[in-house]
Amino acid sequence: MVSPEALKLIEILRNAPKAVKMDLAHQRQAGEHAEDMTSEPQGVTYEEAYSVDGLWATPRSWDGHSAIMYLYGGGYVISSPPSLTAQARRSPRQRLRGPCAPPPIPRRPGAPLPFGRRRRSCRLPVAADRRAPSGAGRNRWRFERRWPDARHDAQAA
């Protein structure tokens, strides 16, 4: 059964312009705000995941063991970790009660296919991030340079 809220959203989508012709830069700018209508979850802290250039979203109820690696959508072209904070924080709180780290997806043009050149383990280095290694400042600078159009609105829920 479709909820009244879902019907309202469907109506918004139905009336929105479809297949808008925009260049890549404007597509990405719009993509950063694709989830502005969604609500912010409560009781979840948010911090950068330096080791994967992503974000940690950790609920208070975290059991300290499990984690979700969240890979966002956007057709491999738009979106970024900061634009997905609401979604990333909702996911662990409502479902698996674990921290959630959406690493960035290399965005074409100019990036290799996922995992095409660099080998990465799916074991998320929780402890390494929590220690805030000496390179943290440099990594933060890299992070902000990489996602200049991203929202930096949520430090802690």
Binding site: K18, G75, V77, G116, R120, R123
Partner: protein
């Protein structure tokens, strides 16, 4: 996950693809069948993004389109998709291929639902 498996790296306990796009060659039948009910995703927009992402690479290369890869040895999958999606066929074919490759896979189709509806 295909790359992790091929490298012998540790795999996650499971995967939950939500409205996955697993065929960048865009051959799914629902791209046409559901074109009139999907409110956000069109075949034209997918083809444009595929071109931007692939940058000349083969759209059927398994690292970009796992539907054309060997799915055996993957962890359990829960595939979630909306029934009114142009990408419905990507999920159906992913579940079919994974199941035939011996993967524990569950396909959930939300009737009348749109792209990435759980989110």
């Amino acid at each position: 996950m295909l790359k992790l498996r091929d490298d012998g790296a540790p795999l996650p306990a499971g995967g939950v693809p939500i409205s996955p796009w697993v065929d960048l060659a865009c051959t799914g039948q629902t791209l046409e069948i559901n074109a009139h009910v999907d409110l956000t995703v069109t075949k034209a927009s997918l083809q444009r993004m595929a071109g931007q992402y692939l940058h000349g690479a083969d759209p059927r290369t398994p690292l970009a389109s796992p539907l054309y890869g060997d799915l055996s040895g993957l962890p359990p999958l829960l595939v979630v998709v909306g029934g009114d999606e142009a990408l419905l066929d990507d999920s159906v074919r992913l579940a079919r291929s994974a199941g035939m490759a011996g993967v524990d896979v569950t396909l959930y189709i939300g009737a009348a639902m749109q792209h990435i509806f759980p989110i």
